[in-house]
């Protein structure tokens, strides 16, 4: 074990002990029940933060700083997939040409969800593959980027896949530096950092994520749960296909079971609506009911799903065929009567007995008379093994969330694959340069994460190890910080303005427990970050509280009440600057105003003797911290975009990525 890791572990233990000591005392001895309306929110917020800190400590316990992998063997087949929807053709081509120039032999593809002829022409001119959605997607759910990738996975065949967003310009060594990890046959995915070239040193919008693309990913890597982040990652095709196939099998059998469960009721209802004189139809529906019973019994007896559904479909075919036969024989009887009446025209050789093609076609699913009863058609179709409502039966990239990466990765880990985090940037991209776009992007990430939390909560994923579950959960947990922020902002204001104290007393008991925890927690951050800037990240964690809350509520409404997320694609194009965007940060401005007013009122109250000095000063410090954190949003609102002059001696790839910025504007 390195000395650094040993030091980290010691600090983690001390952080945990001091933190638990503090929070236990808080719960047991300090709550001011008279002010329950702020006392409980505050202690819950504090407990939330401690759990966040404990999860961080648990991850960092196994911080994994990987040595460079061995060089890859020759002869691996690799597809480089560049996803685009509406980015300018020149921007995509800039990235695609850099991708083509990657040294390890590979095939480059542009996945053009915009289906643009000019994109296609540009790609073909340079010998770059161009893929758009196949016909199967017409009228089916498109599933955004996940759908775009799923479509391309069917049309390509490389053993390995490098996924790049349209603005992520790769370095020539990107594959040489990463394919070596796959010497381990269980390695499914290698994620590299996302680094942005159009961000000044002080990073006003918090675009770089130095803590995430660093210690946090390395923590997750230590527990074999390094995350897939949607771009700049190499994936083993076999792992992806396995996800698709296993999901398919699981979802199909679930659907067949569910259908067979409620089928009898549907059939009985359909039968009641058929007029009594149509005995043929009623009998046919009775027969289908019997077939449903049989299929259910066979599945219960443990017969294979595909065998059962095949027999079911063939038997229903036979019922359909008899319905058509009955129709046609009465038709034939009518024809005979017409012939007997004389004066018939044309040939009288109408007979279908020897016309098997016609019989088969009339009895086919959509042609048969049974097709007229929609509920029965839907039911019979559902007891089959294709995915009627989707363009492709096999969907490797998860479609349960607007951020497909996390859900896909979790499923991959669930199937026993490993992942690795490679800590050196190998591609350079563009970050949003204005507050509005940045807020949209953060909202989307948070919403996606919340969707996965609600739909496939990692804590209940039996195939994941407990550390893996916690690593996924800790990312979700950190997105809940918006609710805690409300309490952390409101508590000092309530004290300074109204004298409401959420704790029984700001005694030495309180400080002696809190201060050591705060200090040691900061020390942990300093040691772990090892010189990487972390202050921006801490600021935005608080300052974007309205975004985090909205992400939670909208994802909740989407998953449990079927509401729309108001989902927006993050624009890569530079937005025209229109002056400071204060209208986007009203809740934060309100909070800042409240904090400032609280300082004024608190000062007056202290001077006139209405408030005690020590608690007032303590709350001043607290307000000062709140203001230092939240004020970043004002700076962000005033940010006018990146000035290229401030970038210093960039590598060639980064310069190419910067050119993308000009194409976009």
């Amino acid at each position: 074990m390195s000395r650094r890791l040993l030091l980290i572990r010691v600090i983690v233990v001390v952080t945990a002990l001091t933190g638990l000591n503090y929070i236990t005392w808080r719960w047991l001895f300090s709550i001011n029940f008279d002010a329950w309306y702020i006392a409980f929110p505050l202690i819950l917020a504090e407990t939330y933060s401690l759990i966040d800190s404990l999860l961080f400590g648990f991850g960092i316990w196994r911080l994994k700083e990987r040595p460079a992998p061995p060089p890859p063997p020759d002869g691996l087949s690799v597809d480089v997939l560049i996803t685009t929807y509406n980015e300018p053709v020149d921007l995509v081509m800039n990235t695609a040409l850099a991708a083509k120039a990657i040294r390890y032999p590979h095939q480059t593809w542009i996945l053009d969800d915009g289906n643009r002829p000019e994109m296609r022409a540009a790609a073909e001119e340079h010998g770059i593959g161009w893929i758009s959605r196949s016909e199967e997607w017409a009228g089916m759910p498109r599933h955004a980027k996940a759908g775009n990738l799923n479509n391309a996975l069917v049309q390509t065949d490389g053993e390995f896949i490098l996924i790049l967003d349209a603005d992520q310009v790769p370095t020539p060594e990107m594959l040489d530096a990463t394919l070596g990890y796959f010497d381990d046959p269980e390695m499914g995915l290698v994620q590299t950092p996302q680094f942005f070239v159009n961000v000044p040193e002080n990073d006003p919008l918090g675009s770089q994520a130095p803590l995430f693309y660093g210690p946090i990913q390395q923590s997750k890597d230590g527990w074999n749960s390094a995350f897939f982040c949607g771009s700049n990652a190499v994936i083993r095709r076999e792992a992806l296909v396995q996800i698709g196939v296993s999901r398919y099998a699981g979802e199909i059998s679930l659907r067949v079971w569910q259908t067979l469960y409620y089928a009898t009721g549907v059939l009985k209802k359909a039968r009641k609506q058929v007029p009594a004189e149509e005995t043929g139809t009623r009998e046919a529906l009775l027969e289908v009911e019997a077939l449903v019973e049989r299929a259910r019994q066979e599945l219960t007896d443990g017969e294979a799903l595909f065998d059962v559904t095949y027999r079911f479909q063939r038997s229903v075919d036979a019922v359909r065929r008899r319905m058509v036969d009955a129709d046609l024989s009465s038709l034939q009887a009518d024809l005979a009567e017409i012939a007997a009446l004389g004066a018939a025209e044309g040939d009288q050789d109408f007979s279908l007995d020897d016309n098997q093609e016609a019989l088969a076609r009339l009895a086919a699913r959509e042609w048969s008379p049974m097709g007229a009863i929609d509920s029965v058609t839907a039911l019979v179709d559902a007891v089959d093994v294709d995915r009627g409502g989707e363009a492709q039966a096999i969907m490797p990239m998860a479609t349960i969330s607007v951020t497909e990466d996390m859900a896909t990765c979790m499923r991959m880990h669930g199937l026993g694959w490993k992942s690795a985090y490679h800590d050196t940037p190998l591609a350079f991209g563009l970050a949003p340069e204005d507050l509005k776009t940045m807020l949209t992007q953060r909202l989307r990430w948070a919403q996606g994460t919340m969707q996965v939390m609600f739909r496939e909560n990692p804590l209940s994923q039996k195939r994941l190890s407990w550390p893996q579950r916690l690593m996924y959960f800790s990312t979700m947990w950190s997105y809940l910080s918006g609710f805690a922020a409300l309490a952390f902002l409101a508590a000092p204001v309530l004290f300074l303005v109204f004298g409401v104290l959420p704790v029984q007393a700001l005694s030495s008991d309180f400080f002696v427990r809190l201060i050591p925890f705060l200090v040691i927690n900061q020390l942990l951050f300093i040691v772990v970050s090892d010189g990487r800037p972390t202050w921006r990240g801490m600021q935005y964690s608080l300052a974007l509280f309205p975004t985090w809350i909205r992400a939670f509520t909208s994802a909740f409404g989407n998953v449990f009440m079927g509401r729309s997320l108001d989902f927006a694609v993050t624009p890569k194009e530079k937005q025209e600057p229109t002056g400071p965007a204060y209208h986007l940060i009203k809740p934060q401005l309100f909070a800042i105003a409240a904090l400032l007013v609280a300082v004024v009122v608190g000062t007056v109250r202290m001077i006139v003797g209405d408030a005690e000095v020590l608690p007032t000063l303590f709350n001043f410090v607290w307000v000062g911290l709140d203001l230092a954190l939240i004020s970043v949003i004002v700076q962000a609102a005033r940010y006018r975009g990146f000035e290229p002059g401030s970038a210093t001696s960039l590598p060639a790839t980064a310069q190419a990525a910067l050119r993308n910025r000009e194409e976009a504007s």
């Binding site: 129709d327 279908l352 009339l362 007229a372």
Partner: protein
């Protein structure tokens, strides 16, 4: 799902236009409409299939049933302007050879 237009030409010919899918469920209604027309004394009927997207064996049965009923009363039922989809089924089943489609509603009874 399906609608039926029923009108009578100056020549006394009844015109039934099914709009939509002429399937088993629709066939019940279709039979009733044809039956009512015959009962009311309209023995020459044109079924205008220009807006019929689909026909199944029950629909075919209803058509031929209509031919039988009208002929028993000394009239006839003719079909006009079938859509590609319907024509496909008529050809497939050889019914087009017994029930020849006419090009226009107005002239369906001219021969």
């Amino acid at each position: 799902m399906i609608e039926f237009d029923v009108r009578t030409l100056d020549t006394g010919v009844g015109v039934v236009t099914p709009r939509g899918r002429l399937n088993m469920v629709a066939a019940r209604q279709f039979k009733t409409i044809l039956g009512d027309l015959v009962t009311e004394g309209t023995h020459r009927i044109v079924v205008d299939l220009a807006e019929t997207d689909f026909i199944d064996s029950s629909g075919l049965g209803a058509l031929i049933g209509g031919v039988k009923q009208t002929r028993q009363q000394g009239g006839d039922l003719r079909i006009a302007r079938p859509t590609e989809s319907v024509m496909g089924v008529l050809e497939l089943t050889n019914l087009a050879r017994v029930l020849r489609p006419r090009d226009a509603v107005d002239t369906a009874f001219d021969d």
